[in-house]
């Protein structure tokens, strides 16, 4: 990583319209969109609704017919298009790598245009390859044709990041990949974004991809306008209208499970103590709790064993090695869906939840998750009722 990388800047689309010559209805119609700095904003919608057109107007590959696009406080109209584009990373489907250039040369194009010296470019290329998870030694001198689709797309991302632009435009970058590679690249993009905090405009027609990676999602409808612009959770629990509901399709509740993290719900608290705690004291704790067991942790509060009241009967001094080793833990960043899966496969009814540095953060059982789902459903139902009868009694 560069010691200090450029973070995102805000982008504002103001009443942007694009009518292609002889095209009848405009492809994009008076579109307003506020893209906060450092966020991933996903444009999602069916084919032909104007996603690509909207995105390409940001780097002026398409000139708006009317309206204004303001990037970091400056109207893009006042910036030379080629200069503008060198400061906006651009990633497209199938990567669009230059087939006659090596991986290194592909990545080097923007820095070259910006006049960087060779040594700096070479260093940056290796740094970027590592950043996107490719071995620099093995890949820098190969040609794109020899890479898998996923690897090509990684190089595409590296090329877009080469000159450390504050903004990234990505048009269905993972659209041509198999589901497994797509998931992986999505995860890696999210991981990168944690460090880079760029402003990313991401186009897709896959609602699941949008829900997964978007901080905000703009659901578009032909001809070229936004129906709902909100966070994934808001869209799932409170779709703006029938169009959005239809676009979300069935399985909203499952998606909600996928969006909700273990850390987002209220987990159970069980008695816990370290190995050198006094057995008798732990026994008192267990009896007070009433569940009949406690969690034994190491000195760093990392879960080790479950111990029941019977196992502690008659133990003198510290708890020591009494109890049964735990068979697994749940991370607080896990999705509820994954947690559910793990709980169904676990030997015990209760599984410890760990937080930072794998330290004890609580415990989860199927019934706790069930209650959480119930709460989400109730909330959703209330919202829907509220929407159908706005203003309550009035």
């Amino acid at each position: 990583m560069a010691d200090q990388s450029t973070t995102g800047v805000p982008i504002e689309l103001r009443k942007v319209t694009k009518a292609f010559p002889g095209g009848g209805e405009p492809a994009v119609r008076e579109l307003d969109l506020n893209i906060p700095a450092g966020e991933i904003v996903v444009l999602v919608g069916p084919s032909g609704c104007g996603k690509t057109t909207t995105m390409r107007m940001i780097n002026r590959l398409i000139e708006p017919t009317s309206g204004d696009i303001v990037i970091d406080g400056r109207s893009s109209h006042d910036i030379d298009p080629d200069r503008l584009r060198r400061n906006i990373g651009y990633v497209i489907q199938q990567a669009g790598l230059f087939p006659h250039m090596t991986v290194a040369a592909n990545i080097a194009q923007v820095p070259k245009m910006l006049g960087w010296d060779r040594a700096r470019i070479a260093e940056r290329v290796d740094e970027l390859l590592t950043l996107v998870g490719l071995d620099a030694e093995a890949y820098r001198d190969t040609f794109p044709r020899r890479l898998s689709g996923g690897q090509q797309q990684r190089v595409g991302v590296a090329r877009a990041l080469a000159a450390d632009p504050p903004v990234l435009l990505m048009d269905e970058p993972f659209g041509a990949l198999d589901p497994i590679s797509r998931e992986r690249l999505q995860d890696e993009l999210l991981g990168l974004q944690d460090d880079l905090a760029k402003t990313i405009v991401f186009v897709t027609h896959d609602i699941d991809e949008a829900l997964k990676i978007g901080d905000h999602i703009a659901i578009m409808k032909a001809p070229g306008h936004i129906v709902q612009y909100a966070t994934p959770a808001e869209i799932l629990t409170n779709p703006a209208d029938g169009y959005v509901e239809q676009f979300l399709g069935a399985g909203s509740s499952m998606r909600l499970l996928r969006l909700t993290k273990v850390g987002d719900i209220e987990v159970d608290q069980v008695p816990y103590a370290s190995e050198d705690a006094d057995a008798a004291a732990v026994l008192v704790e267990i009896e007070r709790d009433g569940r009949g067991y406690a969690l034994i942790t190491d000195g760093m509060r990392r879960p080790l064993r479950w111990v029941s009241a019977e196992q502690l009967q008659g133990v003198e001094g510290p708890v020591g090695s009494a109890g049964d080793a735990i068979t697994g833990t749940l991370g607080h960043r896990m999705t509820l869906q994954d947690a559910l899966e793990a709980l169904l496969n676990a030997d015990n009814d209760v599984v410890p939840v760990v937080g930072r540095r794998r330290a004890y953060a609580g415990a989860l059982s199927l019934s706790t998750v069930q209650n959480a789902i119930q709460a989400i459903k109730t909330r959703e139902r209330e919202r829907r009722l509220h929407r159908n009868h706005p203003g309550g009694s009035g």
């Binding site: 060198r86 087939p99 090596t102 290194a104 194009q109």
Partner: protein, 225 residues
């Protein structure tokens, strides 16, 4: 006199005529390549103009070379001028057509990426589109070269330079002494020259292929000093 004796006897002259022929063809093809690529580049984005350019040079193609040379005499006289003009005109067509086809055949996604990362039209053309269209353009130049070889021989009809002289002087006194030897020498000479030139093109094609040694050197050399 056998063919061999005939050649031995006039070795210097034949060598001179061969060199002349090769040099004329090479220079004409070079001019045609520069012109043809320029015309191709200027028209490939405008389909109407591109087909106009291809069609008009296609019409030229239907004029027999002998007739073309004859038609050029009133304007350009005899000798080098009409020969070179005719060869360049004929050599243009395959080059223009292949340049247009080659450039239009470049993956639009790649061109879009080039523009999207901030390459100007010119930079995208010279760094991305022309190198990618190059194998097709080179094939056009190769075809033009073969064409120029043959037309170069016919150019002797208007007193042009080269091996055509052997062929035409032989044909003119058919039945006379060494008439067949002379024609054969000219014909075989042109054929050998054509093979040599073609060999050069095969080599050039390998060297400049998109993933070939030259391209590898140029693109990696630019990054890793």
């Amino acid at each position: 006199m056998t063919l061999w004796e005939y050649v031995e006897d006039r070795w210097d002259l034949i060598l001179f005529e061969t060199a002349q022929h090769a040099s004329m063809v090479a220079q004409c093809v070079l001019v045609a390549a520069v012109l043809g690529v320029l015309i191709g580049v200027a028209t490939y984005r405008r389909p109407r103009l591109a087909s106009l350019a291809t069609a008009s040079s296609g019409v030229l193609f239907t004029v027999p070379s002998l007739a073309m040379l004859g038609l050029l005499i009133p304007a350009l006289g005899l000798g080098v001028a009409p020969s070179v003009t005719a060869i360049v005109l004929y050599a243009l067509l395959p080059i223009i057509r292949n340049t247009v086809v080659g450039l239009q055949g470049v993956d639009q996604l790649v061109v879009d990426a080039a523009r999207g990362i901030g390459m100007s039209r010119g930079r995208s053309l010279t760094r991305i589109e022309l190198p990618l269209a190059w194998p097709v353009i080179l094939t056009g130049i190769r075809v033009s070269t073969q064409l120029a070889m043959g037309i170069g021989a016919v150019a002797a009809y208007v007193s042009g330079p080269g091996l055509g002289e052997q062929i035409f002087s032989g044909l003119a006194r058919l039945g006379g002494a060494n008439a067949v030897n002379s024609t054969l020498t000219g014909t075989i000479g042109v054929a050998i020259l054509a093979l040599l030139f073609d060999g050069c093109f095969v080599l050039l094609g390998k060297l400049t292929a998109p993933e070939g040694p030259l391209s590898r050197r140029l693109t990696t050399g630019g990054v890793r000093g």
